[in-house]
Amino acid sequence: MDYDKYLRLDKFPLIWCPGCGDGIVLKAILRAVDRIGLDRNEVCMVSGIGCSSRTSGYVDFNTLHTTHGRALTFATGVKMARPDLTVIVATGDGDATAIGGNHFIHAARRNIDITVILYNNCIYGMTGGQGSPATPVGKRTATAPLGSIEPSFDIAALAAGAGASFVARETVAKPLLLDKLIERAIRKKGFSLVEAMTPCPTTYGRLNKAGDGMAMTKFLKDHSVSAAKAETLSPEERTDAVVTGVFVDVDKPEYTEEYARVVEQFGGPARPAHRQLGQSA
């Protein structure tokens, strides 16, 4: 496919470090958008703050780079105003589940038709490697010099518990699986999350002697297991396991459509129709 037609090539080179997986996620998003056949004008990408959130600057859509943790709040405004647009949020583990945790669970609870692509590198990369809610126990960060003593979030489970319609996790080691999940998430009517596990060799890798981007990506690949397989693992084996796959895929009332019914009951004029993408072939 022609990636260039979706990219703002004049903004290159990317700010991401060598070995970072964020570019793999970016390409997976573009493949999904291309396969669905979305017009660039119909897509709005909203992002927060952090490495992942710089994605919005590189894609030739309507793009909104917001404040730290707040991408979903701006995205909610865009989607409520224009239910016919496809709204994609690019965010990170710190952005979405620490400072933006409240917005994350409530957007999922409302089941508003927004697709969240959450780049999870288990650390704050842009600010220099501080601990995030996704940093595994025992892993070193710039703010946990002896290793993190905080239990980490299972972000996919958090979204599922909050009410998301579609929840999946994949690693950048399997980019072709990743784009298929992103495609399903975008097509899903309702709140959808794809948690993309991605290496940060610059901070996490150095602090935890995890090697370069290749080594970290290989680690993700070698430790990927399905949810079913994860059940059979011992607690020790599960520590390093990256459980991948689709965890939630349900159909339930979507918020902008529910609101359209409120407008209808008040006798208000018709709102822009909700986008109809349908299921993938």
Partner: protein
């Protein structure tokens, strides 16, 4: 909410008038979070907005409400939120984003006693400086302050119009008294309210620069998802194209334009009402509900033979420096009663450049300032030797 088209005389509160004014100005999006004493604005709009095909959404917190407002405005809708003190603190982050990204929107703050949770059901004017400087960074802002229910309607319309005209957030500062007092108002007939829309993009999408430097300092604004204008919006310092830049020249240019955008149009933005000021020797500078007590005090003083006058800003920011300065040339003293401990009095003092005395008077017990309190200040100012006036 009743039929907004009716121009019959009605009894309503300031909060209701705010909702009515917003609708009359073309509001199509409201996001908010419940907080006393502003919640009636949200409750009115929860009913009224769906009737016109607009959006009402109660968000999970104040921060998200402000974010949603900015997102909706970027699609071209007129958008607002309303809150009170503690909520206004939480708005500041994304309010700053709206300043930086130049996104038109209205933020209503029905002021209550503070600091912190303070007095949820009692009036104050403690947020006037927060309205100016609440969000970080060297940003300009517009803030309006009505003194009645009828004026709340008018200034809500004006606030949304100014937001659209100058691509900026505008703050409307009510206080609990104005928000909750019920008064007789005659709403203008539908179609007679002047409505201003943002200046649309005037070039094809390929040539569009969302932060272009224009002679009036206000860049034309396209809408997300309309007519093929795809552009980037960020809170980072950006160039004319909207993309982040570290170029000192571009950054300096942006910051100066943001200020120029308001300063350049200062005369069109600043509204000040003066009563009996022409021959006054003592003037009262008062705003919001306090201006009503001040008006009464000035009338009483006149009856007593004291040449008193009232200067009442309807625009608090940008500060009506020139008007206050001109007044200072003529009067001996300016009395500044306010429901805080001297926030605007400092501004008045700075503006008068010691050309007249300034007497601050603050009430911070949750009670309104009474006319008799202002009258006694006027009397003392009128009878005291020029240099010895104190509160």
């Amino acid at each position: 909410m009743r039929d907004a088209a009716a121009n019959a005389v009605r009894i309503m509160s300031g909060n209701e008038a705010c909702a009515e004014g917003a609708l009359a100005a073309g509001l199509r999006f409201y996001a908010g979070y419940p907080i006393t004493p502003s919640s009636e604005i949200a409750e009115e709009l929860a009913v009224a907005l769906p009737k016109v095909g607009g959006v009402f959404i109660q968000m999970e917190d104040e921060i998200s409400a402000m974010g949603a407002v900015v997102g909706a405005s970027l699609t071209g809708l007129k958008a607002m939120t309303a809150t009170s003190g503690p909520g206004f603190s939480l708005k500041q982050e994304n309010l700053g984003f709206a300043c930086m990204a130049e996104v038109p929107c209205l933020v209503v703050n029905v002021q209550r006693g503070g600091p912190s949770t303070g007095l949820p059901t009692m009036p104050a004017q403690g947020d006037v400086m927060q309205a100016r400087w609440g969000t970080h960074g060297d940003h300009p802002i517009i803030a309006l302050v009505p003194n009645s229910v009828a004026e709340t309607f008018a200034l809500t319309v004006r606030a949304l119009n100014l937001a659209e005209t100058y691509r900026t957030p505008v703050i409307l500062l009510l206080d609990e008294i104005i928000g909750h007092v019920n008064e007789k108002v005659q709403l203008p007939a539908q179609g007679t309210v002047e409505i201003v829309d943002r200046k649309p993009a005037d070039v094809p999408p390929a040539e569009y620069r969302p932060y272009r430097h224009t002679p009036d300092s206000v860049p034309p604004m396209a809408a997300f998802g309309r007519d093929g204008y795809r552009f980037h919006v960020t809170g980072l310092s950006h160039d004319e194209t909207g993309f982040p830049t570290n170029d000192p020249q571009q950054i300096d240019r942006l910051n100066r334009r943001l200020h120029a955008k308001i300063e350049q149009h200062r005369d069109a933005i600043v509204e000040v009402e003066q009563n009996d000021c022409a021959d006054a020797e003592v003037a009262v500078f008062a705003y919001g509900s306090v201006a009503r007590s001040a008006r009464r005090a000035v009338e009483e003083a006149r009856r007593m033979g004291i040449r008193a006058g009232l200067i009442r800003p309807r625009t608090l920011w940008p500060f009506p420096e020139r008007e206050v300065q001109e007044l200072a040339e003529r009067v001996r003293t300016i009395v500044v009663p306010e429901m805080n401990l001297g926030q605007m009095a400092h501004e008045v003092e700075w503006a008068v450049r010691a050309k007249c005395g300034v007497v601050p008077f603050g009430r911070v017990d949750g009670q309104p300032i009474r006319p008799v309190q202002i009258l006694s200040l006027i009397e003392r100012a009128a009878h005291a030797p020029r240099e010895k006036v104190t509160a």
